[in-house]
Every structure is written in C-alpha cells, then in structure tokens.
Symmetry: C2
Subunit: 206 residues, 2 copies
C-alpha cells in the first residue's frame, strides 16, 4: 500500500507512468536529504538519468514537481487513510484506523512524500500552498470531529479537540523523522505502538 501504487499519479496522460513515478521517488529522496531549496533541477535529472530537457518533458519545473508530490501525498491521506477510517461507525475504531492508516503510510518504504508534505510547504506558489493547506486543515478537522464524538460519548479525557488532534498528529508525523525502514522495529510494529499510544493519550482510562 504505497502512495505510488494505489493513488493515480495526476496529470500524466500520455507519459510513461513508470518514469514519472521514478522522478517523484528521486525528487522525494533528494528533497528530504538536502531540503527543497538546496536541491537543483539538474540533480533530479541526473538521479533519473535524464537531461534537463528530458526531465522537462515530464514536469514543468521544480515547484511543479513539489506540488505534484504534495498533491499525491494528500490524495493518499484522503483516499486511503480518511476513506478507510470513515467506514468505521464506532469513533474509537475510527480513531484507531486513521492513526494506524496514516502511520502505516509514512513508515512503508518509499513514502517520504508525507514528510515533504509537512516540511516544504513554503516552497509552493501561494495558490497551491493555500490549496494544500486547506486540504491539510480538512484532515485535522476530520480527526477533531472524531474527538468531539468521543467527548459526546463520555470517552474523551478532559482535552481540547484541537490540542488533542495536533497532539496525535504530531506523534504520527514524527515517525517520518525517526523510523528506519531497515531498523529494529518494522512498519507494522511501529504502527501498532503508535496506535496504542494515540488511543491511550486521548481516551479516558478504566
């Protein structure tokens, strides 16, 4: 269940989708290593064995590439994490699914796009930054509503929904910084542990 595999890459009609996916993966890796601003379009072209002109057949430029990576990452959040969590009627199970789904997406190998999404927003032109931010806000709102529902059911600790939602998301998003695909803990183990902590953080005990 990777971003590239399940979410259609947008705006690529007529172009080799494998090459496009390879470009995205290379750009994600280099953006993460060096930061968006410090990355040149030449480095991305070199990494995928294209000339600069060849690369421009697939993308309009570095900013366009950044936007597409973020757009795909938000698609994955919306079409996988939110969509699957939304199938659960019980708010406890819905919360577990959204946390585990998001954590799984981040920790699956090759999904550095989710890290780019939260760290490089200021690299986008204003209109696209506003679009991505509004989708991120809708996602935070989705988590906040689950907490509101838990409160109504008497299951929430005495927490503000906003602080609660950002507290949980911080825990999930931070996995993109410390999780090592070849490390001691598997993606599944980290996902299970983060979900356990997340529910414990917000649910009343006993």
């Amino acid at each position: 269940m990777t971003v590239d595999a399940k979410v259609p890459v947008s705006g690529q009609s007529g172009k080799d989708p494998d090459k496009t996916a390879e470009i995205y993966r290379a750009a994600i890796r280099i953006f993460r290593e060096k930061g968006y601003h410090a990355t040149s379009i030449n480095e991305i072209a070199d990494a995928v064995h294209l000339t600069k002109a060849g690369l421009y057949y697939y993308i309009k430029g570095k900013q366009d590439l950044l936007y597409r990576i973020m757009d795909n990452a938000m698609n994955a959040i919306e079409q996988i994490v939110v969509a699957e969590a939304d199938e659960e009627r019980d708010p406890v199970q819905r919360l577990r699914k959204v946390i585990a789904g998001h954590c799984s997406l981040i920790t699956k190998e090759g999904n550095g796009a989710l890290a780019i999404l939260v760290n490089e927003l200021e690299g986008l032109p204003e209109a696209q930054r506003i679009e991505i931010e509004s989708r991120q806000k809708a996602y935070v709102h989705f988590v906040r509503e689950i907490l509101d529902e838990l409160r109504a059911a008497g299951k929430l600790r005495p927490l503000d929904s906003t602080a609660g939602a950002f507290g949980l998301l911080g825990m999930v998003l931070w996995t993109s910084r410390w999780f090592e695909p070849q490390g001691r803990l598997s993606s599944e183990e980290v996902t299970a542990q983060v979900a356990e902590m997340a529910l414990g953080a917000v649910l009343r005990s006993g």
Copy 2:
C-alpha cells in the same frame, strides 16, 4: 522562562549581549519563515539595522549563527528541561516534568529556536551537526530511560522504549508547528494538555 533569559549566550564576551540576543531572535524568525537555505545574511543584517560588516562583528557567518542558535536551544533543553526533571525521583513525575518543561519552552513566546533545532540540522557543517545530534540523542536516551524505569515498576503499557520516547517527543515537538502565541489556548493550557496526553499514552490505565 525563555532561552535567552535563563541560558547564557555562549562565546559572546565583550559584545553587547542585547544586540546579540536581538540578532538571534531575528535570525530565528527569518529562518522559520523562509527556511535556513533561502535566508541571506543581508536579510538578517537588515532586520537588526546593521550593515553586513556590522553583523560580522557579532557572528562569523550564517552557519555560525545557525550553530549558536541550536547550541543555545540544546543548552535550554539540558540545563532547564532535563535538569529540572532530574530532580524528581518518581518516574511518573519525572516524565511529566520533562514533557511539560519541553512543551513550555517551545510554546513560550520567542522560543522558535527549538523549531530551528529540529528542522535545519542539515545546514550545519559536519562536526557541528554531529555534536548537536549527539546531544539530541542523549536527550532521547534520557526520556527512554524514564520509560524503562516505568516498565520496571510495572507502570508502562506494552511499549518499546524507543517508539515510546519518539512518540512523546513527536507530540511535544509538533507544538512548534501549530501553537499560536496569540491564539485561543495559552502556553500553560497547551502544556497541561500535552502532559496529560503524554502520560496517558505510555502509562497503563487503572
């Protein structure tokens, strides 16, 4: 309790400490807004009403400034957060103090240095990056040891200490992204809520 107020600014003997603090504050603000790489030394000089030459009286360069900001932020973690938590013998109270102390440091107005610390490490020269990273690792180890102690006392959920420590730190560190000094929730409220969630995340219920 701000970084500037309690932790001595290092390596500034003979120079106006107020001006030095002003330079740090301006650099922190601009680094956070634009990112370290996209910030020019001229912008920092302009922000503090100095010529570039005047600025170089206080700092050796942009990288030196980045290192000093991170060094001061780590000093605050070590000399305030860890030192105060270390006074507590009970591991539950020690955990509460380290989470609340760190969260308070981040959410107090003007402490954007803690955000720089986690986002701009790759801007440092290698030797300094390694130094800061090893101090960060020692801090993570401090949190992990509290979790080990809680496990020994039968108070920890079935959690891996590393996943637990990073889960908690993610929750705390993320406050630097969403907390608004002029917003609805005060620094004290957010600190109390994050501490409540952190203990709930790792302690066995009941």
